[in-house]
């Protein structure tokens, strides 16, 4: 598994990716998704394996990096670290920031490594299953992936579905791939090749975040001093080993589900840690179990989310959607054939994720104090620089100024979407899955000779449709239950 990594170039890429990921994770508003989107155009100069290793190491380290800011300034560096704030910051306020970060580092590493093991075992199994899939099954699977968007984050399920449908709609811009008929091009030649992933991803994540930051300039962070990160004590290990293992399992499972990711995983990991704890009353006041539960789960989701991404080409989270974009622009088609034809490529990715988890443990343990200082870079200097990189990166891909306009358009659109409660993640996932959904639907209709009911005669497709129905209904029931509880309070 590690053999493909024994090259100085790949190790350098891995080292850079881990450090860069940590920096991104530490900076509130950036994170591995935005950072991955920013670095995507630069990966074009790398070979496919180096490019994906760079993106995956950013993913692993960035997910952990969010915990540093969560503990020290009570602001999650990434959304996945939101649950870490609940106990990390109170513990830091008690003068135990080093202990809180030590627990976050250890549980993140264990969660991350656990999920890589899950990835190594389950991705090939899932890929083998995918051999049974024809066009109707892929269509049903893509629909399942899209309906899972309904339960992303804490937003409204219907708003998420609208955003997902909008993402698919963007994928229809340009020449129809079956008939070469122009759609939504309005006479603009550049649009006939369609709207690229990168302008949309950079716009929705980086530029919209820049606009969001422009509304938060009066925000003041209260920083807790950190002397050094401390390894958890024997007592802490005794208290938390079950929580870490449980959350690693939960995180990996949630990660495998299409479209779910670290944010959902960490919230469930945290609440389950509280439910099983002997001292639930300590939660929210600086419980190490709370930190362990959230951090093990969000890092375990990284490997889990890579399972459907690599085995089926269905992104498991927002960042894996960016990684999937990276695979596509490098001409790598995820799916069962990838496992058969390029096993060394896959094992390179698995090995890189494993090493990235070890590297961020070392960097986190010895460099958390330094990384925490990165948050001192003021937004008024940081964001104009990010803008310059975003513009040049977007332009560089096809050397088209139209791409830069598209990026700015999606930046403004993304800002307003977020302001009014629409997540931007479904747009990206919809854009990525759009061609798959339309292509498989149209080919299935040809196979079925126009008889839509034939979908129900395919057991795998039928199973996915039933799962899709559950995925649609479940968030509605959940939000009703939450509302009922809220009203009772």
């Amino acid at each position: 598994m590690m053999a493909p990594l024994f090259s100085s170039k790949l190790l350098l890429v891995l080292l850079f990716g881990t450090l860069f990921g940590l920096v991104l994770g530490v900076l509130p508003g950036l994170g591995p998704t935005t950072g991955g989107a920013l670095i995507l155009p630069f990966t074009m100069t790398l070979d496919p394996l180096s490019a994906i290793i760079l993106l995956t190491s950013i993913y692993c380290a960035g997910t952990y990096g969010g915990a540093i800011t969560a503990v020290l300034i009570n602001t999650p560096g990434t959304p996945a670290a939101a649950a870490t704030c609940l106990d990390g910051y109170p513990l830091a306020q008690k003068g135990e920031a080093g202990r809180a970060l030590g627990m976050a580092t250890v549980s993140s590493t264990v969660g991350g490594i656990f999920s890589v093991i899950v990835l190594v075992f389950f991705a090939p199994i899932l890929a083998n299953l995918a051999y049974e899939f024809g066009q109707p099954e892929y269509f049903a699977l893509a629909i399942f992936g899209l309906t899972m968007l309904a339960s992303i984050g804490d937003g409204s399920p219907i708003k998420n579905l609208i955003a997902g449908a909008f993402g698919i709609l963007i994928s229809t811009v340009g020449k129809d791939f079956m008939t070469s008929i122009d759609r939504f091009t309005y006479g603009i030649n550049e649009l006939s090749v369609g709207i690229g992933f990168i302008p949309v991803v950079v716009g929705l994540f980086a530029i919209s975040e820049m606009l969001t930051q422009s509304t938060l300039l009066d925000q003041v962070f209260k920083r807790v001093a950190l002397k050094a990160v401390k390894l958890p004590t024997k007592d802490d290990y005794k208290k938390t080993w079950k929580t870490i293992l449980r959350s690693s399992g939960i995180g990996s499972f949630i990660g495998v589900l299409p479209a779910e990711g670290g944010t959902v995983a960490s919230l469930i990991g945290y609440s389950e840690a509280k439910r099983f704890s002997k001292n639930p009353e300590e939660f929210g006041k600086g419980s190490v179990e709370g930190i362990a539960g959230a951090e093990a789960a969000n890092n375990a989701a990284t490997g889990g989310a890579m399972v459907p991404t690599l085995a089926l080409g269905i992104p498991g989270s927002a960042t894996t959607a960016v990684i999937l974009t990276g695979l596509i622009i490098h001409g790598v088609r995820p799916g069962p054939d990838l496992f058969k034809e390029q096993p060394e490529f896959l094992y390179g990715i698995f090995g890189a994720m494993l090493v990235a988890n070890v590297l961020f443990f070392i960097f986190g343990f010895f460099g958390a104090k330094l990384f925490a200082r990165i948050t001192l870079v003021p937004n008024k200097i940081l964001w104009p620089m990010i803008f310059a990189v975003s513009v040049c990166g977007t332009y560089s891909l096809s050397q088209s100024i139209i791409d830069v306009w598209i990026m700015l358009f999606f930046g403004v659109l993304g800002f307003f979407m977020r302001r009014y409660g629409f997540s931007v993640v479904p747009v990206i996932i919809g854009l990525i899955l759009g061609e798959l959904v339309e292509g498989t639907l149209r080919q299935s209709i040809v196979i079925f000779d126009g008889n839509w009911l034939m979908f129900l005669t395919r057991p795998i497709a039928l199973t996915f449709f039933i799962l899709s129905l559950i995925a649609l209904v479940f968030p509605l029931i959940r939000s009703k239950k939450i509302k009922k509880k809220y009203d009772q309070v």
Binding site: D176, L211, S214, P378, W383, P384, A388, R419
Partner: protein, 168 residues
């Protein structure tokens, strides 16, 4: 608790066309309808060549779905109005203006000049007053980016009054 909720949802007291949910609903429906109408002008494939569905059918279905789902969220907002968002601060509008400036300058004068102008404009309006940092974001950093893209990645930027000095 109820007082807090009522305060948060003060949006309800406004006339319906001023409410956030109506504005969002109206915008999505308007844009979707315009796009839906435009799908009727897509070319069609002759029946003999048509396998499956026409190219316009899939986008039409998506747009109808978006209109239906938007109507549902608007209907639900009658029972549970959205919370009122804070007014957008001045730096936000200035950042939007800087985007417009960027587009105009990059189209007429120079791509890198546009980046420099945007950087200094944003940095200054976000509160930076130190000359060194303003020079850093507007000249030094864009220059580093230019050199990196030009020399390391071998990219050629669009011609303009500043880039031409380098290219010619």
């Amino acid at each position: 608790m109820n007082n807090v909720r009522d305060k948060k949802r003060a949006n309800k007291s406004l006339p319906f066309f001023f409410r956030t949910e109506f504005k969002v609903f109206f915008t999505i429906i308007l844009v979707s309808t315009i796009l839906l109408i435009s799908t009727f002008s897509f070319d069609t494939v002759p029946p003999i060549l048509n396998r499956g569905i026409q190219p316009a059918t899939f986008p039409k279905g998506l747009l109808v779905l978006m209109i239906v789902l938007t109507s549902i969220i608007y209907y639900l907002s009658f029972r549970r109005p959205w919370k009122k968002e804070k007014n957008l601060p001045k730096p936000f509008f200035l950042t939007i203006i800087s985007f417009v400036l960027f587009i105009v300058i990059s189209k007429t004068l120079d791509f890198f000049l546009a980046i420099s102008v945007l950087s200094i404009f944003v940095s200054y309006n976000w509160g930076e007053r130190r000359v060194f940092y303003l020079l850093l974001v507007s000249i030094i950093f864009p220059l580093v980016v230019f050199i990196f893209f030009e020399m390391v990645l071998g990219l050629r930027f669009p011609p303009g009054i500043i880039t031409n000095l380098y290219y010619y």
